[in-house]
């Protein structure tokens, strides 16, 4: 088995209205990732992406527009925020076993000017009972989990506020972020309710844009422009009865533990590290509560102590400002930030220690995670 690394990342600007086709955004980010790594795009032999409904373009379209000489590997996942780490894991498996050499993984969408996923209707067997009664948007579903989680762990909306404030501090330092006005706890408390316990400041901002990663062998990555971000382990987990569609969670028993609780042991064991070794955490945060639940689930703090950990600043979390601040690229940008941190390219947002970075994709019943490490 060959070792695998992320060799480069690429972004388009994140905007309210790109005025451009999604395919153009996808190609720009994909080419930017190749340029970042210093790899000839003609050497790419795999493309993977994900979409919700009809909000993106298939991998084959990107291969076509980038004049690919041919593909050996392709994946189009019908999956939301659970997908990015999972896609990197699938690409890593293919590269490790010799079924691909250089894979582009991307997310592209006009998520602000086009179809908005937050209030999208998902196909499936659960929706027909939710949509007619006004239970039809993602903030409501996750708010219901967050309410129970705060209750059982003895945390409060000020702990959500701690997440929002800490993320905003990083977002202010991030040129790519779409929300850069400073925020303090008083500002969080004054932010209007969306769906209790979430205020506007607890919610990600939908944007237009694209983000791409270039994944290849560690051996090849060592010869490219950037330090390799070694894929130490990737894992996906769902528990029993993960639901009938993206918004169906009434078959899940416990709303206070998400997939991170299930994925933790396998992820860290296969990476050969422990939660105590984690230097930076880049955690999927469509809403602030998911950061609390994922810190606890990954074992980066005790149950109920996530708000305190965030307030302490002892662990750098979401150094890009999170999806809350940088914008909602469905967590592909969360993984890209993990790569930049491992590579030591975080600029003013760079963590001093960055040997081991954990990233997650997903918020509720199921999701995926990655451990990236420095090349040692």
């Amino acid at each position: 088995m060959r070792e695998v690394a992320v060799a480069g990342v690429g972004y388009t600007p994140f905007t309210r209205a790109s005025g451009r086709p999604v395919l153009d955004l996808a190609c720009d980010a994909a080419l930017a990732a190749c340029t970042d790594a210093g790899l000839d795009p003609a050497l790419v032999d795999g493309v993977g992406t994900h979409s919700v409904g009809q909000d993106s373009e298939p991998a084959q379209a990107v291969a076509t527009a980038l004049a690919s000489p041919g593909l050996r590997w392709v994946v189009d996942l019908a999956m939301a925020g659970q997908a990015p780490c999972h896609l990197v894991g699938l690409a890593a498996d293919a590269i490790a076993t010799g079924r691909a050499e250089a894979v582009l993984v991307f997310r592209a969408l006009n998520g602000r000017s086009g179809a908005k996923v937050g209030s999208a209707r998902f196909p499936g067997r659960g929706g027909p009972y939710r949509y007619p009664i006004g239970y039809g948007a993602y903030p409501m579903y996750i708010a219901t989990w967050a309410n129970r989680h705060l209750h059982e762990t003895g945390q409060t909306t000020d702990d959500l506020g701690a997440v929002a404030v800490a993320h905003r501090r990083y977002a202010v330092l991030n040129d790519r972020a779409v929300v850069r006005t400073p925020l303090d706890l008083a500002g969080h408390r004054a932010s209007p309710w969306v769906a209790e316990p979430f205020r506007v400041a607890d919610c990600t901002r939908e944007v237009d844009g694209a983000c791409a990663l270039l994944v290849t062998t560690l051996e090849r990555a060592r010869d490219l422009r950037r330090p390799p971000a070694v894929v130490a382990a990737a894992a996906y987990r769902a528990g029993p009865r993960p639901g009938l569609d993206l918004g169906d969670h009434v078959l899940t028993d416990d709303y206070t533990r998400n997939f991170t609780d299930l994925v933790r042991d396998e992820l860290f064991r296969r990476a050969g590290v422990t939660p105590a070794d984690v230097d930076v955490a880049e955690l999927y945060d469509c809403f602030s509560s998911v950061v609390l639940m994922s810190l606890e689930g990954l074992g980066l703090c005790d149950r109920g102590a996530a708000g305190e950990l965030v307030r302490s600043g002892a662990l750098p979390v979401n150094t890009h400002g999170g999806l809350l601040g940088e914008g909602y690229l469905h967590g592909m940008n969360t993984v890209a930030e993990a790569v930049l941190q491992v590579q030591g390219r975080g600029g003013v947002r760079q963590s001093a220690r960055h040997d081991v970075v954990v990233a997650t994709s997903g918020a509720l019943m199921d999701g995926s995670a990655l451990v990236l490490t420095r090349d040692r």
Binding site: Y129, I133, G136, V194, E196, Y255
Partner: protein, 129 residues
């Protein structure tokens, strides 16, 4: 005026919606493990048994969690905000998400209420006094 899009009853959901029109609640009871389940589907998600029987339940239960919705994500609900959606654990077993009249607490006991819309009936819950 609140005019949400009506449900579209199908093979799985038809009996549930028809019963609500008669102010009754019916759920599938698994022929294999005897569990009641929601949402209606063709196999039991605990034991994969396909056979089930539509069974009346009283719709009483306890609130597991809830959200107060302040932002109307669809125009049809603009006149309703703020409103509560509660996740209710029915005494008969299944968990179901329903509109709730009033803000509950964790564990609040609730009883069913049937709300007529144009062409369909919605199941809601009301906190017990």
């Amino acid at each position: 005026m609140n005019t949400p899009a009506p449900p579209e009853p199908d093979h799985d959901s038809g009996p549930f919606w028809v019963a609500l029109d008669e102010e009754r609640i019916v759920l599938q009871r698994c022929a294999g493990c005897d569990r009641l389940r929601f949402p209606p589907i063709g196999r039991c998600p605990w034991c994969r048994e396909p056979r089930s029987t539509w069974t009346p339940v009283d719709g009483r239960g306890r609130v597991y969690s809830w959200t107060v919705v302040h932002h109307a994500f669809e125009p049809a609900f603009a006149d309703d905000v703020p409103y509560v959606v509660a996740t209710v654990d029915l005494d008969d077993g299944p968990r179901i998400a329903l509109r709730c009249a009033g803000v509950p607490d964790f564990g609040t006991r609730v009883s069913p209420a049937f709300v007529r819309h144009d062409g369909w009936t919605e199941l809601r819950v009301v906190p017990d006094a």
